[in-house]
Each structure stands twice: as structure tokens, then as C-alpha cells.
Symmetry: none
Subunit: 353 residues, 4 copies
């Protein structure tokens, strides 16, 4: 069995909580480098893993001919640069989602990938979630008939992450709730529906609840307490209507809104049946049989999606074949998100054909 | 106290269940005519009321100089013709919703009204609902701050009315769930938000679940059982995104869909607070005070909205002043609905400015 | 950053469970002495903290010129003596509640404080509770209008602490449920209502359920099992009516009573709104808006009140400014409690003006 | 069997809903007169009863030598005058509660009764309630030991009756919630505790929530809708502390308050046991047996208290003996209520010995 030498670039929470343990769980991988601009973070990750070199400069990783592949776990605004450099240095790459803050950067990553002939997967981890793959099976198997409309809801009462910090600074994150949560929901829908082509997009984004950093009321906050005097120039809510070569998509999303019902779900509406997915959990199938209405929650074992994602990446390295999360499909979501931001700026629908 | 002589044109369920009892509860009204093309329906209504003449031809009503006003309770496709004729015959009119199946007809009704100098109210009864008026007070009073987004949900699992009959025949009804339910939701939102001007509309309508009349599975059906071999050429679901001079509106509606959660509500999202109205019932206010999140369900006595609507109509007759449901505000909803149908036909957004 | 050297005098549960961990959590404090007449208790506290000297005689602490301030965590009957000596020795003091068992002793403490020009805070920790401070904000912000009546209920079915021991021996504790629990409830109310002046007090105290130490039925007992042959000469329940320059206060309290409903709450009744505080927990706001009744439970993050109290004490040391729990406001509660005991002894109302 | 001829003076809801049906249920009574200043009310009552004469002038009733006794069901301000005149005319009387709006008037009624040698019962109907009599049995039987404290709670969120009308006009009703509800609660407690003598009373009354008749928010209203421009000069809430030769009484009452928990109960606290009575319903006994805590809800058949009251009145007529609701015991409650009003006016405690 061949072992792949891996470099992990960026040792924040997505690296230590997801990528590193998942590599550890697959015998085909050996992490050779832990890289972070904060040397102590790199060292802590290496210590926890038990081997590997901690470095602050990622060019050391890219220049080491022993390294087969890298995980890119840096802030969104550096995804494109580092992933492209990695590919040009001959390394396969698994880059965290979103591909890039803008569609233009994502296109460049796609070009770098094509030129290199290597693997470039995007961390759209839902493509490795078991519920999501079951739904894809149901749709492909015809149980829903034609899926003509999908309603996507990622609305929370109070969940702005690290208000005033990196998440809410557009220059670093590229955007707010759409790019942070929306990428997952949209990519999941595209995947289940066979990656249809977007035709039109009309959307609006709102930046209202996080503007007054001191006055923002909340119960708890992920990614640290509010930063007084920090930056908040991203959207906290979004709505859009997207026509595709498959279903019409309607979406509402909010990191924060003055409605207290957290509603995190996706409704796939077909003419023969429908599915509501409770995001991150189970799903209900609604259909009719013999003139009677029927609904049920399928039960099956759920695996750790990050482990499946990393195994899938190692499969690609082993076989040289594209997996389900390659840049070529993930880029469609980037195009839609860019379309929503552009439509919101113009206050009118855009034609994407 | 002056008493107004009323003619009720159309004696179906909206007349016998709502208009006639409400006139009876107001001492200023006396119903002089009960008119229906089915003479036995007219007679039954007169008998139940205890006085008044039953007729089959509405021109008898319009030609009687004693009659002050009429209630128009006929199918949608006749609203425009009869209401306009009534006005030209010198009668005030209360016309059931929607104003008309098309915006063009609604505009003609508005013209007839303007020329006559009389009252023409549309039966957008939610403008007389106590919860709705409280919400309007909250918004006008500033409790929500600026309302920037409204999400409108009128989605039912199985509720196509009289499948194959008048409701599902476009030539009679003018449309499906949008014109039947959507008119109420949209008009209510426009009313609460101060009747803003529509700017763009992008929508899609779907006619999937009612097509196979024999195969339609359901638990119960309002307005009669399915009509085998009947007509079904209207939409059973709809989605749209509407920009206005006030909030952006996103809507999802379905008479029938393969998702079992009946979701009939409206979310008003403001920067200081928000409200979820459970359509036809109470509402929850979400806000923040002194850095704490607060939500509550206001409690107050609820009156019968049809009685308030009819009293409001009689107030207009008495004072000559316009009330909240005059054609001039109700027509905005007609314009939006027409926009959704037109946008759906063109598969692209329309500019309404 | 200046570091303050602290002496903790008394190493019982309020010291080890509240003061010491809170000092540890604030970088400005360093505990130099752990003092207790039981040397092993002092040593255990020092060991747990990791540094500092364990002593049995508090004069060692007061005579060390390095010590800036002390926490007084001894039984109630020693509060006055030790706090006053500390002030006279030039140490700031945070003295556990109640200030003293009698109003006369509290006045002496106030005098010692005034003469020293130092800080003397009383451990009325509710003044640092986040719910309590929110309620104070609501009242000051006008949401309740004028608060004209407050009902204070601290009634428990069976909760006499350490029956027969220090808590139930008047010579040590100064009293029963009024001085143990009532001090918290009364002080909290005074604080929220802007520390109004007491005008009249009429009260009765009852010592019925703990008299028969062997026969006392209970489910569990805090502060140790009953002491057969011990002392029980304090009240187990109390009722009083107090007029102030602000609201009228009515109170019922019981360590033990033959009513099984534990009712621990405070009702603030205003002419525009009201609040029920569930003691130690959340609170509900009741009000009316736009003619509708509204009630809700505000949600917000809750901090550890002991940490906030200790930080507040250190703020006082740093700035030399009085905080919310200085003896000058805390003494009003002492005066009311003394009034209740005196009124109960005389079986008539007392004028406190 | 002797039959007593009865005159019912005042035919409002307490007469038609309680007295008249109860007389009808007892074969010893025959109602000869129905008297009301509104002749149609008198006639309607007579028609419903099936016999008897309807009159508008009560002197007709008092002058008829056939009449044995009268029920006095007129507004509070006329109780004294009519009951005294009836006694002087040789008629036994059952007078609705409260005896009179002031203690002075109640004393006059007592004098008229004493001079006449006839029966004068007051409609303190709880003295005939089966739960109340069971509680009296428990207390007399020693199950609670000595009852040393009673807490009386008659607090409602929104229940002002007929705001602006007779109930809220002091000249007619004599007072608000204390005289309307408090009389029942206080009298019940006095009865259960053996009619102890009042020693001191300290109280305050508040008239805050009903003052703004137009702005009063409510869910429903008994005794008619608000009267715009009507009178509101009574108290909507009350608190008091009363020492007696038996237990100390603490009370809180409100027709309306900004606390939403309706709390209608009485706690009898004894040294051996206690009872919570849910007013108008069942009760729970709390006690200790064999060192274990025990609580239970006694179950027994409940009779109609009004029928028992009327039968008791007829028993008095038959035997000439005093029953439990004679003026001599009912007057104690009048004295306490007067004391609360006087103490509230003086803002200090009164000595009633």
C-alpha cells in the first residue's frame, strides 16, 4: 500500500477538528508538515498528531519533493493563491470551501488545476454526508418524479460568528452568511439534483443586524466574543430566486434575523414525491401510493463525513480519477453565489447563460 | 339613522357565510335583493335572512333606484363586469377578492370607480382583521425599525379546492393558488407595510400535482369532490421574489405539494424587531431590549373580520370617505400577481417601474 | 498593571466556592493569606490555590503592610468586628452579607469605613447578577412605568440549614430566614428600585417548625445534618409590609412551612408593565402595546455573579470609586431587617422616618 | 311543612343566577315578589320562575304582611337601607355580600337586626362551600396544629368588571377588588379560623391600571364592555398585613396587575400541617407523619353552595336559630376591610382593639 505524504497548510479549527483527525484515521496518509503563520499553532498541531514538522512558511511545504498533496485550510481570501501555487508545484490539493471569495478566483483555480492535470477537490463536505447521498439516490432513482422546485432555508435567530473579526470582514472572508453557510446548502442541492446549469439569478443581501456591534443582542457566540470597533461589512441575511436547467431554487438565509425560529432545512419538491432534509440530520420522504398519502423517515447508519471526504481525496490520489467534489462541479456554486452578490448590487435579475 | 338598501349579487358560500350575516349584524343595512343565477340559491338566502326579494337577473337589482349598494359575490371572471356596471348604475359596490383575474380588468374597475365618484371596496378582508391591524400599528409605531424583508409562506400539503371545477378552471377563476390564497397574503403585507410600490418581480408557477385528476391523493377537499374529466389548467404552486420601494418580498405558495408541513405564515423582518404572523391567528414579536432578546405573543380580543369589513363599507357609504380596502390600494396586489404570471411565462424578471 | 495582595479571612464554603475562584479568575488579584481558626481548613484552601500563606490568626493578615485588601468570610456575628478592624488597619474590605446581625453594628461598620476613607463592599452578590441588572435597566428605562408595589416571596417547604448549628443559633447568625435569605431578596429589590428610603415597617416572625429538632421531617439538609440537642432560637418564617419612598413591599419568607410549593420569586408591579423574577434564574416581562397584552422572557448570556462581584471590588481598589455594593446602600437593607425584627417583637408597625 | 313567602329585591345576575334557582330547589320556599327598578327585569324573572308578582317599588314587598323574608340583591350602596327597612317591617333578610360599603353602615344593620329579633344573614356564600367547611373541620380537628399565619392571594392579570360602570364607581360599589373579591377571601379565612378578633391592620390600595379607560388592554371583560368616559375611582389592587387574636393574615389582591400569573388561593400555615385552598376548587393538605412528609388532595362530593346557603337561610327561618352567616360574624370582615381602606388613606397601621 502506497502512503501519501501530506502537508496541512493552516492549522485553525477546521484543520485540527476535521482534516487532521480524518487523515489520522486513514492508513494511506502520513502528515509530513503542519504549517501556520502562528508557529505555536503549527507546533501544537504537530504535537497532537505525534509526528511531522511544524513550519510557518508554506513554500517550504510546496518545495519539498516528498510531499504528494496538501490540505488548504487558510482564510477564504488565500484559497485561490495557495491552491494554485500548490498545483503548479506539483501537489494535489484539497481546498476548504468556498473555492474562493469570487467566481473569478475560482475560475483561475480551475485553470491551474486543468493545466496541472492533478486533483483539486473543494471541501464541500456535504457531498460525503450519508443523508445527502441517500437523497441523491432517491432523486436519481425516480422516487420524487421530476424535482421542479427546491426551497432552501438557512435561517438562524442569532448566529453571527466572531462579530467584528475575520468572519465579518469582507476582505478576509469574501462575504457573510451566503459564503459561510449558503455554499454548503447550494452545493448540496446542486449535487443532489445532478449539477444543473444556472440560467437566471435574482437576489438581495442585507447587512442590518451586525452593523451595531455593541448593540447586537445574542445568547452565545461561536468564534469568539464581539470585537468592539471591529469590522462588519458583510451580509447577515440573503434571499434569492435562481432558475436552472433543472429545478427552480428559492432561498432564504440569515446568520441573524428578528425571527426566533431557527429553520435549517431544504425542501426538494417533485411531482411524484418530495423530501425535507433537516440540515445536518435526517430527512422525511413525502409521497403518495395507491391513492394514499405516505411519509416516512429513512433510517441508516451515518458515517463521519470528514473521514469520508478525506478517504475520497486519497482515493483520487490513488486512482487519479475525479471524485464528487472536484473543482469542476464545485465551481457552479461559486458562480451562483457571485450571481447573487452581483444581482443584489444591481437590484435586478442577471442572466447567467 | 339612515338605512342603506343592499343588493347581494351571487349567493354562494362567501355571501351566505360572510356578507349576509355581517349585514344582518349592522343596523344601518337592509338587504333588499338576493340575486343568483340559480333561483333556488337566491330564495334560500332570502328565506334565511327573513325578508328581501330573490331574483336571478342582476340587472333588476341595478335598475332599482332604491338600492344604494351591492355586494359582488360572483366567480372571479365576472367581478369586473358586474362591479363596473353597478358603479355606472349609481350603486356603491363591495366586490369580493381578487379585484379581477387580470390587472387589465382591475384597471378598468378602477376607471369605472373614478368616473362614478362612488365607493368600490375589494373584499381583502384581512385589512379588517385585528391581528393584521395590530401588526400594522407595530410597524408604523417603529417597534420593528425598518422592515427590509418579508417572507410569505402559504404552503399546504393537499388543499386544491374542487379539483376539476370552477376553482381550477382558469377561464373562470383567473388562476390557482396565487389568485386564491396569494391575493390575501400579498394584500395583507402591502397593507401592513404602507402599500409600497412594486419595482421588479421574478416568479415561477407550477402546475404539477392537480394535472392527473384521478390520481390526486388527498385527505379531504373543500368546494366539492374531484370532477373526473374536469378542467385543471391553473398553478398549484408558485414562488417569487419581488422588490418594492419598501421591503423585498419572497414568497412560496402551494395548494398542494409533496412536503407535508403546512406552513401558513408571514415573517416581517425589521432591523429592530420582527413579527411572525400565523395566518388567521396570533403573532409573535421578536425584539431586543437592554441587550437581551425578547419574544412574545400579544393578546387582545379578536372581532369577526367580515363584520368589521361590512361595517367599514357602511361607514364609507355614510361618510363618502375611502376606507382601507378601496380599489386604489387593492389594485397594487393585482399588479404584482399579474407580474408573477407574466414573469413565469417569460421565465425572467420583469421591471414594473 | 497593578496587582493587589489579598487576605481571605474565613475559609468556609463561601470562601472556597465563591471568593477564591473568583480572585483566581482576575489577573489583578493575588491571594497572599488564607486565614481560618481551623488551621487545616486554611491549609487546604492555600493548597488548592497553589500559593499563599495559611494562618489561624487574622491579626497577622491585618498587620502585614503588603496586604491591600481582605475578604471577610466569617460567621455573621464577627462581620462587624473584623471588617472594622481591617479598615482601621488600612485594608480595603469585601465583607460577606449580611453587613451585620444588627443595624447598630452595621452603622458602626459604616462609621469605620467613613473614617478610613477606604472601600467597604458587602457581599450582596445579586447586585452583580445579570438578570437583576437587566431588571434595573428595564425599570430605569421606564418600561414598567412607576413601580408601586413589589411582592417578595422566598418560601420553601423544607430548607432549614444545619438545624441546631450555627445557622440556627441567634448569637452566631443574628437570625433565621430573614437574615439568611431575606437580605438577598430585599437588597435586590432596593437596588432595582433605586434604593428608596424605608418609611414604615410592620412584620411578624415565626419560629415553629424547627423547634422540635428531633421531630423535624425533611428530604435533605444543606450545611450538615440536624444537631440533636443543638440550638434553634431563630425564625423559620416571616411576613412583613414595608412602605418606602418608592414602592410598597410585601414579603413572605420561609425556610420551612407546611405548604409544599417552593415559591422563590419577586413581582415588580408597575403601572405600565411588570416583571416576575424567578430568583436565581430568568424573568418574565408583562406589558401592553397597541392595546394588546404582551409577555416574554428576555434571553441573554449570564455571567458568574461572584466573578463580577470580585472584579467590581478590584475595580474599586484600582479607581478608588464606590461600586454598587458599598456599605452606604447595603445598610438600608440592614435597617429594614432590624425594623422587621423590632416590629415583630412589639407586634406593631414602626415608623422609620 | 310550612312554606315561606319570599320577596326578591333586585333581579340582576346574582338573583337570577343564584338566589332564585336555589329557592326553587327548596320546597319550603315560594317566591311571591320579584322587585326591580327596571320593570322588564322584574317581569322576566317572574316569567322564568313561573309565578309571583313583578313590582318596581320594594315598599310594596315590605308592606305585604304575607311576605316572610326577603333576599336583598341590589347594588352595594343600597344594602344597608333596604335590609334595615326590611327588618323594621318585620321581614327576615338575606342580604348579598358585602354587608355594606362601610363599617358604619354594617354596624347600623347589626343594630336593626338586634332590635328586630329577626334573622339577618349576609351572602358570604363560601361559608356554605363544602371545601371551605372541610378545611374548617381540619383546623378545628387539630390536623394543622396552631394556624399562625394565613397568606391570602386573589390576584388576576386582567379582570376589572364593567370598567367605567357600577363596579368601578365608588359611590355605588363602595370600593374595588377588596370589596368585590376580598370580602369572600377574608370572610372565608375568618370562618375557618373561628372568627378571631382583629388587632392591627396596615394596608395600601392602588388605583393604577383602570384609570385610563381607553388604554386598558384586556382579553375579555365580565359585566359588559368598558364605558368610555365612565367612572373609575376604586382600587384595582391591594396589599395588607393584619394581626388577629388568631393567625397573622397577609393579603395581596388585584383585579388587574402587570403580572400574568392568576393566583387565587389561600395558604393556612400551621405548626403541624398546612392547607392550600385553590379558591373555588379543591385543596391540598401538607403535613408530616412518622418523620415523613405527606401531602394529599381530599376528595368528596361538592354541593351547589348557593343552594346550601338558601337552605341554611330557610333553616334559620324554621328554627329561629342563627346560622353561620349571620351579621354578627360577617361584620368582622367589614371591620377589617374598613381598616384597610382607612390605613391606606393614612399610610400607617391602625390599632383596632
Amino acid at each position: 500500500m502506497k502512503t501519501f505524504k501530506i502537508g496541512v497548510i493552516g492549522c485553525g479549527s477546521i484543520a485540527t477538528g476535521a482534516h487532521i483527525p480524518a487523515y489520522k484515521a486513514d492508513k494511506r496518509a502520513e502528515i509530513a508538515y503542519f504549517c501556520d503563520i502562528l508557529p505555536e499553532r503549527a507546533q501544537a498541531a504537530a504535537d497532537a498528531y505525534g509526528s511531522g514538522r511544524a513550519v510557518a512558511d508554506y513554500s517550504i511545504v510546496l518545495n519539498d519533493p516528498q510531499v504528494d498533496a496538501v490540505s488548504v485550510c487558510v482564510p477564504n481570501n488565500l484559497h485561490g493563491t495557495i491552491a494554485s501555487q500548490a498545483l503548479r508545484a506539483g501537489k494535489h490539493a484539497l481546498c476548504e470551501k468556498p473555492a474562493a471569495p469570487t467566481y473569478a478566483e475560482a475560475l483561475e483555480m480551475q485553470r491551474a488545476k486543468a493545466e496541472s492535470g492533478l486533483i483539486l477537490n473543494i471541501g464541500v463536505v456535504n457531498r460525503f454526508n450519508d443523508s445527502v447521498n441517500k437523497i441523491r439516490d432517491y432523486i436519481r432513482g425516480g422516487r420524487l418524479g421530476e424535482v421542479f422546485h427546491v426551497y432552501i432555508s438557512f435561517r438562524s435567530h442569532r448566529a453571527i460568528p466572531g462579530l467584528g473579526g475575520a468572519f465579518t470582514t469582507k476582505a478576509v472572508s469574501g462575504g457573510g452568511v451566503l459564503i459561510d453557510w449558503g455554499v454548503h446548502f447550494l452545493d448540496l442541492v446542486m449535487y443532489c439534483c445532478g449539477d444543473p446549469a444556472p440560467l437566471t439569478v435574482s437576489g438581495e443581501v442585507f447587512s442590518r443586524l451586525g452593523r451595531d456591534i455593541d448593540g447586537y443582542a445574542y445568547k452565545s457566540m461561536w468564534a469568539g466574543p464581539p470585537v468592539p470597533g471591529g469590522t462588519y461589512d458583510v451580509e447577515d441575511s440573503v434571499t434569492a430566486l435562481i432558475r436552472t436547467s433543472g429545478p427552480v431554487l428559492t432561498l432564504n438565509g440569515a446568520w441573524a434575523q428578528n425571527i426566533g425560529e431557527d429553520e435549517m432545512f431544504i425542501d426538494f419538491m417533485g411531482d411524484k414525491g418530495g423530501i425535507r432534509l433537516n440540515y445536518g440530520g435526517d430527512f422525511t420522504v413525502y409521497t403518495a401510493e395507491h391513492g394514499a398519502l405516505a411519509s416516512y423517515v429513512p433510517e441508516f447508519p451515518q458515517r463521519n463525513a470528514f473521514e469520508t471526504e478525506i478517504s475520497g481525496f486519497l482515493d483520487c490520489l490513488e486512482t487519479g480519477k475525479e471524485g464528487p467534489s472536484g473543482i469542476d462541479t464545485a465551481i457552479i456554486t461559486a458562480r451562483i453565489m457571485q450571481g447573487i452578490y452581483d444581482s443584489a448590487a444591481a437590484h435586478k435579475e442577471l442572466d447567467l447563460t
